[in-house]
Each structure stands twice: as structure tokens, then as C-alpha cells.
Symmetry: D3
Subunit: 238 residues, 6 copies
């Protein structure tokens, strides 16, 4: 099983989803940002963890519903088996007519040390979810119980979520703009590169706020900006 290096996790917690998608794009990845998936709350904590996946297909009256026993009980199993430090990523086919999970399931993930939950469907019990403190991402809040629309079929297969492929063990990152998927085998270098970019962006943001023109500063960086950045770093101990 993949394991995230502490320094990589630390670096990721300091960067932005925009910086990450830029670094991934420079490596040829064009489709790593989940579309139409947003944080339950704008200022919830950042989310970093490895992907543990659950897959829903449409529900069917002979397979689930009030009168049918779901022996496998895949949904609660997911909540008990998603490893600590992992993010539960749910393929809900972009369908938010019924919930993918609610506050008790999400509270269990939190209690077990998981890092977050992501669905391209909906979540119920928004207030209760906020009380758990777990970073949560969805298409929108929705109240109906999941079996009206969803039937859970398996855990930890490759899935699609928000139009992006998610393999178990991928790195899942979330901030106020949304969720990014990072292939595990490049996460260390991507995190390091993005941390460096983030520090430069902090410098550039200050310069721009002071009235400095973009030319040579962003998006192309010239020698003057490089030199100024070195001075700024020393001054700020970065």
C-alpha cells in the first residue's frame, strides 16, 4: 500500500489546487481537477490523503430498497475499512438526487483518522458533517437516502469521480477551490515543486500589490525578478 511521506504531506498542506494543476499540466496531465465538486464550506481545512474508493451504480428494486437485505453492507464497510490518512472517494455518477453519505458515516471516518470524503453526488446532514470537522466535498447538499438512487457495488477499484479517473492509492488534495488527483509516483516531486512555486507566488503577490507590472514577474520570470525573489526570501527567512 502506498504511504505518503510526512514532508510531502506537509508541503501539500501549504500549496494550492491551482499550483498543483499547473505542475500536473506541465507533466502532461490535463484532467486531474474534479468538475462540479466543491467544499461543503469555503474555509474548511485543506485535505490531503490517499484514495480509497467506493463505487455506486444506479439502484434497482430487486437489489436494494426498504424490503431487500443488502448482505454485503458495502457502505458501512467502506467507513470501517478506509485506512487512516486516506480519503474516501465515491463514484456517484454525478447524481445528487440522493445522498452518497451522511453525518454518522462521515463521523466514523473522522473518528478513525481518515483525511476526508469526496463524492460527485450529494451529501446529507450538512450541519452534522460540519460538526465532525472532516473535509467534505460534493456536488451539492441532498437529503434523500442513498438507496433511492444508488447501489454500492465494490470498494477500491479504479473509478471516475467528477469526470476524473481515480485509482486507489492516488493522492487526493482539496482546498477552497476544489479537489485535485495526483498520481502517487510523482507526488513527491510535484509537492516539492509546488511548494517552491507557492513561495514565489507569495513574493509575486506582494510585488503586484505594491504596483509592479506583470512583465518579467508572471507568468514568465526574468532575471530581475529572480534576483528580487532571492533577496525577498532571505529577508523573510523562506
Amino acid at each position: 500500500m502506498n504511504e505518503l511521506k510526512p514532508e510531502t504531506r506537509e508541503a501539500l498542506l501549504q500549496v494550492q489546487s491551482s499550483t498543483l494543476t499547473g505542475a500536473l499540466y506541465r507533466r502532461g496531465f490535463r484532467n486531474m481537477f474534479l468538475q462540479d465538486v466543491s467544499p461543503l464550506k469555503f474555509d474548511q481545512p485543506k485535505m490531503v490523503g490517499l484514495a480509497f474508493t467506493m463505487r455506486f451504480i444506479p439502484s434497482r428494486e430487486d437489489k436494494n430498497g426498504p424490503g431487500v437485505k443488502d448482505l454485503a453492507r458495502i457502505q458501512p464497510k467502506a467507513m470501517e475499512e478506509c485506512p487512516p490518512g486516506h480519503v474516501l472517494v465515491v463514484d456517484s455518477r454525478g447524481d445528487a438526487r440522493a445522498a452518497s453519505a451522511g453525518d454518522l458515516y462521515i463521523g466514523r471516518l473522522k473518528a478513525r483518522g481518515c483525511a476526508g470524503i469526496v463524492t460527485d453526488g450529494g451529501l446529507r446532514d450538512s450541519e452534522g458533517i460540519l460538526r465532525t470537522g472532516l473535509p467534505a466535498y460534493s456536488k451539492r447538499p441532498t437529503s434523500p437516502p442513498s438507496p433511492i438512487v444508488h447501489h454500492p457495488v465494490d470498494l477500491n477499484l479504479p473509478i471516475g469521480c467528477g469526470g476524473v479517473a481515480v485509482w486507489p492509492g492516488d493522492v487526493i488534495f482539496g482546498d477552497c477551490d476544489g479537489v485535485v488527483v495526483i498520481p502517487f509516483d510523482i507526488v513527491d516531486e510535484v509537492a516539492a515543486e509546488c511548494l517552491a512555486t507557492t513561495i514565489y507566488d507569495e513574493f509575486a503577490e506582494e510585488e503586484v500589490a505594491k504596483g509592479r507590472p506583470l512583465a518579467g514577474l508572471f507568468p514568465v520570470v526574468n532575471d530581475q525578478a529572480k534576483a528580487d525573489f532571492e533577496i525577498w526570501k532571505k529577508k523573510h527567512g523562506r
Copy 2:
């Protein structure tokens, strides 16, 4: 005319839309949650009331517009006739290109003791609506005057709103997740059942937060959990 029992109203004000849709599902109702309709503000007060309905059809140049007298004046009539304690539910065909209502109309509903307003279209004057304090639900804010898109045709007929059938006299419930429709003839038992479930959920939320596994606690409840719940209730005077 239907009238909501005070104890039922009290019970509903303590429960969640997720609990209600669960109780309705167990009674065979699969489609009672309005899709793509959300509260104007996440933490606005809960909404409970009986449905009073207004129906829009698309506007047409020979029937409404700046140069046409709308003798019936159905829209202001709705604001004056929606009974106190009722929720005005507006069938806007899911079209938010123009507003279904604005702050003065909604202020009048509030002043007359109505319980809320719901549309599957848009509302204008978000700031003014928030000042009235009336719970308001819509697809999104939108500024254009309603006659650009909508023509009001009648009051208190059965309508569709957010993809759900609403009959005058249905019970309309809204919280931070959205809006649920409850048939009047089952609202007392549904409210009582949901209140009991809500108390159990409070207990379960505490247990989960303390690290208790889901098995036997949720969604299936075993004897141990039942016994623990009894003790918890005594301890908390519930």
C-alpha cells in the same frame, strides 16, 4: 383547510430533512425532496408550514409585459392571500432567468405571518430578503423582473416544484440541506417518528465521535445499542 397541530410543528422544528426523507422512503415515497432548490442562506431559520401554491407559465407578449395590463394581478394576490403559517410554493418550471419574487413581496409574506417561500426559479434582492428574516429557497439569485420569463396563471392548484408534486395543504419543511414535502395525512406520525430518530441520532453521533464502530449502531441497531441508548436518554433527560 388543513391545520398543523402545534406539537407536530414543534417536532418538525427539531428534525432534519434527511431524517424526514428517510421516514417517507420507508412509507414508499421516493421523490419528496426538491432538487436544485437551496436556502438563500445556510443558517437561515428552519421552515415549517402548509403549502399555498402559485403557478407560472412562460410569459407571452400578448398576455404580459410592460404594455399589457395584468388585471388579475395574481402575484400580489398570492402575497395577500397565502394564509399565515403557510409556505408560498411557486412552480417556476425550474427557470431562473427571471425572478419569481423579490424583497417587497417576501416582506409582505413575512408581515402577514407566513412561514416561508419556495421556488424552483430565482429570487431577486437577496439582501432585502435576508432583512425580512423569512426562510427563502430558490434555484439561485436572479435580478430580471418576472414578466420577462414568467406569467402567473393560478393559485392553489397542484403544481410541480423542483421535480416534486406539491398539493395545496401539503406540509413543507426546509432546513440547510433543502426542502421536503410531507403529505398532510401522515405528518403527525412522520413527525413523531422523526423526532425519536433525531434523539437516537444525537446519541449515535456522540458515540461515533467517541470512537464506537458503526456495527450495531447504524444503520442497523442491535440490542446493545438499544440498551445504551436507554441509559443515555435517562442521563440526558430525553
Copy 3:
């Protein structure tokens, strides 16, 4: 180049997008409110300025991307040339899969005295944008770099944005409900009319809150309401 009179700007800063779309509708304009474009933050400052436009078309691998030099560099040019007091309006074809701009570009607009940014696509770096303080409107937050989806082709041509025609020099107004386009040649009279309406609405809001029925007060105003309004204005020095 158009220039907005200070008193017109002042008037606009006191009115609402709903009042403006009403005044425009009475003049025959039915489609001046941008659809599916909302403020980054509900309580960001109002936005008033003249339109400076940028047009995106879909990106193409032989025209932009990591390995292609974009000699014209139209995007940073827009940030340097959008005149102070103007709003940068971006035609993103309603496509929010990649960002139309981010915090450094928007910070430069702010530093140069621009009045705001509007796109019918997405914006990245929400937190950084909020730090700049510039009013920003978009379809939704989105992180991916713009060249994945967008290719900037020209500045200051007439464009479509949010389903509305925007000509360079149009007046662009934004509040918590969204964005309105006002033709420059009628902005003075529209602003004056809307300011008067706004003062009446303030009076009417108070009356409604006190329990006064709508008849004669809104939307049709009778002689009694006119008289009461005159008294109210004197009393409040309006």
C-alpha cells in the same frame, strides 16, 4: 472612450441589480443580466465600471499549450491595458473546466485601479482573489490553468458573456445577486431613475415591515402612497 460621470457612478453604487433590470426592461431591454455568473463572495463590494473585453476560443494543441510560444501574450496584456475604472469582462463560452484568470492577474487589475473582473467561466485561487479585494464574478471556482481549455484571441471586441452581449464601453454593474450590462448612452438616466426607485423601495420596505398591504404601494403606486412617500422623504432628509 466613454467616461462615467462621477454622479452616475455614485448613484449606481446605491442601487440594486433588480432595480436596474427593471428600468432596462421598461426601456425594452430583456436580456441584460448575466446568467449563471455569481459573486465570489456574497458580501464583496459592489462593482461599477466600463467594459473592457477579452475573448477566449477553445484551446488547440498547435496554438497553445506547454510547448507552444504564445507571442501575443494576450492575457497579461489584458491585465496591463484594461483602463482604470474599467471592468475586465471575459467571454469564456460558459466553460469553467479551466480558469479564466487567477489571483496574480486579478491583483494586477486591482493595483492598476480597475473596477472588477467578470467571466462566464471559472476563476482560480479564490482565497488570493479575496485578498486583492477586487469584485470578482464567475460561474464557479476552478483550478486548472486556462490553456487546457481556453485560447485568448483578442481584446475589446463585442463579446457574449453569460448569454448577454457586451460591447466595450458598456457599463457593467455587479452586486450580491449578479451582474447587469447597461448601454452607455442611457446610463445617466437609468442611474437617476433607479436611485429614485431605490429611495421609494426603502420607504416601501419599511411600510411593508410595519404591516401595510401591497395594494397601492407596490408594484402599482397610488396617490396615498405617493403622499406618504413625500412625508417620509422629508422626515428622513432624502
Copy 4:
């Protein structure tokens, strides 16, 4: 009840939906063409008749379904009561997940001398409908029985269909491009005007095919074209 003059019906059967929407637009009507509604077959006969309307709202388990008696039986009633020469126009809220009608209902309309059926939802039994020969318009074919999604509530009220307002007694026209609504009180003049336009268009089509430039011919008509048209009409006995 409105009655269509035979000469008006005859004229309408010779014109096109494009000519009609043009004539309506010149009279200020912008929204009389049903969106996303198309003929079951490209070359089915043209449709002309007065509107008889049926309204669906979303189905609900306590109001319809396999176990509920629908005493009013509004759907078969519509098929028996839609007057000869009329078009049954069904408000299906644009929802084609279940059928608005099938071949037996539509066969009954045909047998009773009705002029057509239009829905913004779906129709089932495409082959059977084609065998009846009745002009039929829908969003798309769909097989599921209507009560899964639709509950019929009333007949002959004003409705919305395909985003257009339809009042009982409006004139409904359909050709290979789609369906147009014409207010009854202007249908005689509109039909006459469109017939004249259609004859001119026939002339212009011939001229264009022979290589004549558009200037003065279409869309603006100059004196030369008017003169040539007069000669053409004499020559062809129009």
C-alpha cells in the same frame, strides 16, 4: 370556442414554421417556437389545429401508481374530449423519462378527427404511432409508462410546453422543423401574410438557384425584385 376558418387552415398548410415565426416576430412575439420538440418522422404530414391542453405534474406514490385508483382518469378523458380538428398539447415539464402517451391513445385521437399531438416529454410505441398517421411531436421516444414520472391533473388550462405559453384555443402549427403557437386573434392575417411570403420565397429560391445575388432579393426586397416577382407570378399563375 374558437373555430379556424377553412381558408386560414388551407393557407397554413402551405406555409413553413420559419415563415410563421418571422411574421410573429414582426408583431413582437419572440417566443412562439417550442424548443427541443421535434416531429416523430421528418416527412410526417403538416399539422394545423386549435390547442386542447393537458397538464402533468410529477407523480407521487399516494396519488398515482399501480396500487392507486385514478378515479378521474384524466388521460383517457383527454383522448375522448379533445375536439376534432384540435391538437392535444401536453405539458410534461420537458421530462421524457416516461411517456406522455402511446399508440392506442394517439390512435383514438386520430379516429376522432383530431389534428395532432404535441408533448415536451416523450412518446412510446413509435411504430404504432406512425401507423395511426397522426402528426406527433415530442422530445424523444421513451417507453416507460407515464405514472412512473407523470400525474395528469387538469385539462384545458393555460400551460407551458417546450418553454412556450399555450392557451386553449391557440393555433398550433407543425412542420418538419417543429411546432409554432399562433394567437387565435391574429391567425387570419398571419396566415394570409405568410402565404404571400411563401410564394415570394418560392420565386426567390428559384432565382437564387439560378445564381442571382441576394442584394435586393433577400432579406431586403428592392423594386427590381418586386417587378421580377410580378412577372414570375403571372407566368406561374400564382
Copy 5:
């Protein structure tokens, strides 16, 4: 492995998707018709077979593309392993931006005796597919090669297609209206019931065409109609 009885297959080839969805609805199944999936050609042969499934997730640059070896080669494997008499059902997440299959793959299915192909995405090479003669259902024609959008991950797992759950071994039926899924364990009784209904519908269609009113004939059948039907059956040898 499930096997379809010859008489059941024969019966199914004589019925309609509308009759099937009706019979399924009476057994409690509400969601067995694939939405937004239509035949490549209106008059292609009917399709009956057991489901063999393939699942796509979104493509990703490190998993597929021109420069990546797809060792498993799941797509051609599907074409070689879908058993004779089976229908290949492809979960394309409703995404038709790139093709799910083309004429050579589909030709191989035909050559191997398969019964059809269904995708909720797109198919390429429409002309070539028509030449194979295999019944084909999709959202729409589309030319781009599948790896631009799709990555095949597994065969013969339960999937969603057109918003419907499909389990391997389900019975898949297609006619000019679309595609229906029938659980294997009820297919014999459903087919027999639908065949009987189809014969009655043939009788009813004739009666309706001759001018008989619906009352007692359809949808409710009274004693007179039953008696008339018995006579009709004898006369026609059904």
C-alpha cells in the same frame, strides 16, 4: 451462466419496449429503460440477448494514450469474449465526446454471433456499423478515438448504463424506442405476459382505428372487450 429459453427469445422478438416497461412496472421496477440511448437506425432489427458488460472510467495520461501500452487490451478482449447471443453493454458514463466502439469491433461482435451493442456514450463509423447489421444503440454518433476520453477497466461487473443498473446476465431488449433491462429470473413470465398483451394491443389497435371509444378497451379492460377479444383471436388464429 444464464441461458435464454428459445421460446422466451421468440416471445421477446414479438413484443415492444413499452409493453415490457409496463410489465416491469407492475412488478415494482421503475427504472429499467435506458435514458438518452437510441437505435443507430429507426428500423434496425430488434435486439434480444444477455448482458456482457464493459466499464470505462475517464482516461488519464499516465494510464492510456498514444504513448502508453495498454497491456491488458480490455477493449478487443471484450469483442472476443462477449459470448454469442449476448449484448455488449458499455458503461461510458453518458460521455459521447469520444467513441465507445467502431465498425471493426462491432463487426467482430457480429461475426461471433453476438446479439447487439449498447453504450450510453457514442459510436463511430455509423455507415460501417450499419453494414455489419448488428443492432447498435448509443447516445449519438461520435468520431474521436476512445482513449481521448475513456479508459476501459474491467469486464462483466455490474455497471450503470443510461442511468440503469445492468448486471451481467440480465436480459437486454432493444427496439425502435430504445433499450430495456429485464432481470433474468423473471424474464420467462414477463415475456409470456407481454406476448399476451401484445396480441391484445393488436386487437385494440384495430378496434380503435375503427372508431371504438377507449372506455372498457384501454387501459382498463371490461367484459365486453374481453369477449370481443376472444372472438377476434379465434378469427385471426392467435
Copy 6:
């Protein structure tokens, strides 16, 4: 101005849009097929020509409409100036609520020797367009006159159409599946490569129909298949 070599045009007329998108994908082009744009008729002639573009923005009451003179008259100008052998490609922002063109305009293009018309909006007068014989591609038929929704602003700028970037002078190809854009500077090699592929596909189609397995034949071609193909070519004189 670009000019298409006769042999390239000839080659293109023999290939398929699927083969072209494959060849473009191998060169790194992922987005050259127009989405949601289809031929007016399945079996209309193939279309090959260079792009001449027209751009619409949303209409506005002070810029177009019945009472406003459109001095520039850009639409008829496009019909007169689109060079022979060129395809008129119209950016309609994917909006088919009103027509982008009708039969007289399209007849003029045909008379002047143009190669086709493409819009991501709608076309009116389907029957008349079919009579002109010009290949025509659109989102769907639609009757309303263009100024209700569209305002033409300029000719021969780069545009977006169906989500694809189109530069004037690009090569535009259309068949029964849809429309592909080919950059001019690679069209000769792409056409030659696709012609070769098409001949191989003809061979492979025959082999598959005869029962040959896919392995080594498609999509990967092994030595045996290469040898067989050489023999087949000699035999068929290809």
C-alpha cells in the same frame, strides 16, 4: 489564402471522420471533432472545404431587432463573400433557440460554389436546405429568425464552434458522423495517411466479416496481416 490541393481533396472525400480524428490524435490533437453538431440528413454528400467564419454574439435590443437598421448586414455579406470551395462555419455559442441561417442564404452559398455550412446553433427551412443539396450541419432544426437570439459581429476571425477552435483557412471535413477540423499545414500528410488507413480498414472489414479474430488485425497490425493486406491490395487493384 490557403488552397486545397486537388489530390488532397480527393483523398479526403474517400476517408471517414473517425479515421481523421485518429490521425489527428496521433499528432497530439485531442479536440478537433465538433460536439453536438450533426448532418441535416444522414446520407447527405461528404463535405470538404476551407473554413470561412462568421461570429454571432447574443442579440440586444439596441443593436438588432425589427426596428433597428443593421447597416453592416454581415449575414448576407457572409453568403456573398464565403469563397467557392469554402465552408461557412458559424459560431452560434451552441444556442439553437433561433436559426443561424435558412434555405435562401444556404441556396446562395450553393449557387456560389461553396462547399457547405456548419453551425453549433440551429438551421431553419430543413426541406428547402435539402433541396439546395449543400451539406449542412447544425445542432438541430429551429425556426425562429436569428435576430431574436443572435447578432452577427464579424467575419473570418478565429472562432469556437461545437467546442472546437476554428481558424479561417482550416480544413473542414464532414460525413455522416459529424464534422472534423484539420489544421491546413498538415492536411496533405493527414489526408494521405488516412487514405492508406481507409484501404486497410476496407480489407480488415472484409476479414472481420469472414470471421477472422481481431488479434494482429486491429487495432495492432502484425506481420501476417500486413502480408495478407499486400495480397488483398494486388487482388483488388488498390
